[in-house]
Amino acid sequence: MKLDVTTLGTFYRMAREGAGLAAGRLTRMTGVETQVGITKLNFMRGREIRHDFEDGSEKVGVRVELSGGLEGHSVIVFDRKSALRIVEMLIAESDVDSFDEMSRSAATEVGQVMNSGFIDGWADVLETAIDVSTPSFIEGQTADPFFGDIDATPDDDDLALLFQSQIEAVGTEIGFSHYLFPERESMATLLERLRTNDGIEYDKLDGFDRMAEQGAEEVAKTATTLTGIETSVEIRRLNFVSLEAIPESVADERLVGVAFEFDGTPSGYLLFLFDEDSAHEIVDAMVPMEIETEGEGFGEMGESAIKELGNIMASGFLDGWANVLDTTIDHSPPEFIHDIGPAAVDPVIIQLGETQEFAFVFDTNVVADGREFDCDIYAIPDETDLERALNDLEIDKIDETPTTATFEDVENA
């Protein structure tokens, strides 16, 4: 199975189109104004999908099986409260707090209308017919009842292509997610049909992602060594998104970041973003004395501590890539930023936007148990470079290449 960027772009448009239709139908059905949130193509491992899904909240889902032009499962997932509110609107009853037969069937109907919105959108873009099974209604807190019995959902270590979209009702708390798990075979056929150039061997992407996973682990270890704060990788995924979606997925609040450009095969940009509390915690942990800060800033020493941490994390992260790709990747000195989140990201997508429309984003979240440490890592390689690097990658090498934990930098720091 081979991927090429043009085809992934088509898939992306298909997901957007589907989300738009689904949102429109929800509005027509309930009278609530809706808007489409972020749409992503995720390459995620089974473990990550489950982890991401299981945020402790009760959920309700409506699932259908697809056949014909696209095979797989399409699942609309609401949090339970959102589903109950929608049901209240539909059956004009107040305070619905559990699902009886009537509310269950109302919820299923909404889910079904949404599912068919998505599916009609895909069928349009793919110019094919997709058949849909009767919907089933699911309640639960874990991923299991929703995805557990689907063959197409990946095992813990398998990388799956997953389509995710969000729709929100304007001015309300109602929001929900949509997942599409395509069958691998069906996906391969589609990819083959749509592919316009040689593209990337899927197994290479999978292999590279496994390495990137180790790179992320390295970053967490480095952070622990430098700050004494016990950190771990919370969530990690490889996204394929339109460039515009990248800053839009960053919190619209003041963040602290360290940014790099890297140069080699591949070249691109790397950003570490912390919320303000985490940044303060890091400065406290790394700078032994009380530091004078002006106003709400971090002071010169605070800034340089954060830059230093970023610098070493960047080396760890990129060394991992360079090792498996057997190339060298150099990175620039760190640039410190303390500003509105999206503003820190848009310069990067603007520069990439001169030559590409979409990007693979290696998106990682590192957190600490019981302490404030929340770091979002965005690694955004230049598309052509990444494609070339992956094509040169020897697949056998991935399992042989050891994880590189180089803490010499730390000693020299």
């Binding site: 104004e33 515009e244 960053v250 450009e261 509105i340 989140g341 999206p342 310069p347």
Partner: protein, 171 residues
């Protein structure tokens, strides 16, 4: 019980995302948040209260393939599309005025050349000049992000920054 639907009285600002443009009139508020090197271009006709906001990402649409599908992505095509849609809605071309904000250059990366933000600002100014639309106010450049809100009725472009130093500016 909480009511859903469009609640009267509290109009939510209309979000103008990256590469989007929105034309409106009256007291509708158009908002773009977290502009770094992106540029917000606001055009309005003070006589008819018709105006629009574009959240521009790149300078040159004439050189790109997809600028007809996504005119809002590029400074030149966004300005032309805003102007055309405003005129279609009843604005008078010769009365239209422009305000811009954004176009910062927060990173000094080698690959960025003279600055990605600066390129956007220059392209917007050149296009406005070409079309004869007067640029009556600007808050561009620097090393900080901006969030903007624009109301066609008043022509006011409110620019907020995250740091205390620059605060809130009204253009």
């Amino acid at each position: 019980m909480k009511t859903y639907g469009t609640e009267p009285g509290i109009p939510e600002p209309v979000q103008v995302g990256i590469s989007e443009l929105v034309v409106s009139e009256g007291d509708d508020t158009l908002k773009s948040y977290g502009l770094g090197s992106c540029l917000a271009v606001a055009l309005y006709d003070p006589e008819t209260d018709i105006g629009g906001l574009a959240h521009v990402m790149l300078p040159d649409g004439d050189a790109a393939d997809n600028s007809d599908i996504k005119p809002g992505k590029y400074a030149d095509t966004a300005i032309r599309a805003l102007l055309r849609r405003m005129v279609e809605r009843g604005a008078s071309y010769t009365a239209v005025e422009a305000k811009i904000a954004g176009g910062s250059d927060m990173f000094q990366f080698e690959s960025f050349g003279e600055g990605v933000g600066q390129r956007n600002t220059e392209a917007a100014k050149a296009e406005l000049e070409k079309l004869g639309v007067p640029l009556i106010a600007e808050d561009v450049g620097g090393k900080h992000g901006r969030t903007v809100e624009f109301t066609p009725e008043t022509g006011k472009l409110i620019v907020r920054t995250a740091d205390g130093e620059h605060g809130v500016t009204e253009l």
